[in-house]
């Protein structure tokens, strides 16, 4: 799975990152290097802090009242937290796909074009080209090219999720964060999404939160295990799932918890 084994600069460098909800610590301190153009999975039981950590990678946590973040995240060496840094600009470089597909009640095309329009793009031909490219990358173009002006709400669950991925890709981010992108889908739709993640990692850096450990084992090059708000172990996926070095990782992935 790891096509590129050359050591390379990490795309995201996380240092001492701690997320607080009021006085309560959500997750951290976390230190982690996320390798570019690879898939990194975050696993752990509910409430372990993996989604909180994921959201802190593009400053989505700031939308939650009382949430506070300390520590550092650097994208290609540029800090994403700090005074004068626009979170919207960060989110354009680091896109996000959520657990529940959430298309807007608009046409298929408008769903994908939305981010481009609010980004100020007006050229209709350029928008069409970018929509096609994003839908192609999300492996949805062939299924929807003849009904771009139909409502997105008429698509199946798996198609809606791929539409949301296309929407995230349209603004041409560098990193794609995915919060359980396949947990509400059937096995076939899940297989499509997993294949898509694999293809996307040729161009994008993907970080995925999943409750499905087999999914992490299937799609990810690297896996991080979180437990009780702490990063317990981070390693190559093949190592973590065959000989984890921490006994808590071992207990969790073999099903000896709780």
């Amino acid at each position: 799975m790891t096509a590129n084994t050359e050591p390379q600069e990490p795309k995201l460098v996380v240092r001492d990152l701690t997320v607080w909800y009021g006085e309560k610590k959500g997750v951290g301190p976390v230190g982690l290097d996320i390798v570019g153009q690879h898939v990194t999975a975050l696993i752990g039981p509910s409430g372990c802090g993996k989604s909180t950590f994921l959201r802190s990678l593009n400053r989505m946590n700031e939308l939650i009242p009382g949430c506070r973040v300390t520590g550092d995240v650097k994208l290609d060496g540029d800090p994403i937290y700090g005074t004068g840094i626009d979170p919207v600009a960060i989110r354009r470089r680091i896109g996000m796909v959520f657990q529940r597909s959430n298309p807007f009640p608009k046409t298929i095309k408008e769903n994908v074009a939305y981010g481009l329009r609010i980004g100020g793009l007006r050229d209709a031909r350029e928008i069409d080209a970018r929509v096609e490219r994003a839908l192609t990358q999300a492996a949805l173009w062939e299924e929807v090219k003849d009904r771009l002006d139909d409502s997105a709400m008429g698509l199946s669950g798996g198609q809606q999720q791929r539409l949301c991925i296309a929407r995230a890709l349209a603004v041409e981010p560098e990193v794609l964060l995915m919060d359980e992108p396949a947990s509400a889908l059937d096995p076939i739709a899940t297989a499509h999404i997993e294949e898509l993640i694999n293809e996307l990692s040729a161009e994008y850096t993907v970080v995925i939160v999943t409750h499905n450990m087999q999914q992490a084992a299937r799609v990810a090059d690297y896996t991080a295990f979180f437990y009780l708000g702490e990063l317990v172990e981070f390693d190559r996926t093949d190592v973590l799932f065959t000989k984890p070095s921490n006994s808590r990782t071992e207990d969790y992935i073999t099903g000896r918890f709780g």
């Binding site: 450990m213 087999q214 084992a217 799932f241 065959t242 000989k243 984890p244 006994s247 990782t249 071992e250 207990d251 992935i253 073999t254 099903g255 000896r256 918890f257 709780g258």
Partner: protein, 233 residues
Amino acid sequence: MIRASTSREHTNREYEGELRRLREQLLLMGAKVEDIIAGSIRALIDRDSPLAEQMIAADRKINQLEIDIDEHCMQVLARRQPVASDLRFLTTALKLVTDLERIGDLGVNICERVLELNGEPPLKPYVDMPNMAREVQEMLHEGLDAFVAADVERAQHVIARDRNVDAYYTQIFRELLTYMMEDPRNIFRATRLQSIAKYLERIGDHATNVGELVVFMVKGKDIRHAGKLGDGG
């Protein structure tokens, strides 16, 4: 549980039970294989043909256990998708049965040669053969113990002992050669004894495999073919 680190049980009791039953089946198979080897060696030393026949028949149970264990492993792999130490235990089990089954077959081979030898007067009193047999039996026993206890140190001791077995084989082979050169009428019996020594030597190799599998199961480190695969891994 076959685990070196902790003795925690699975949250899923049924899964826990499946792994426990698999382990019990493996131990049962190991015990039966040990019985066959012990019986075949006794049949050789005591020139006991009925015992040899009995051991040949007993091998059928081992073959059935091999099939049952393989089936059980497939079921667990398909239904539970084991990972980490469970995965290593399962893959170890799949390989272990093959080695155990081969050891059982070699015990049968010893008995077949014993039946041929018992049709003739003894060639010579046994000196090295019982010692070699004891060494091999101890290796097998220690290998299975190491598996039960997930004990890497004992597993490595088994591996180290294979040198002694190889030395016995060379010694026995040389001695039988002198008997054959002395009198061609010795050749029939000497080649049978040489085969038995070779079977024992092969059992030692399979016991060594058991030791190597235990090291892999516990540490996740493959120590097979050390120094024979380029850099030795």
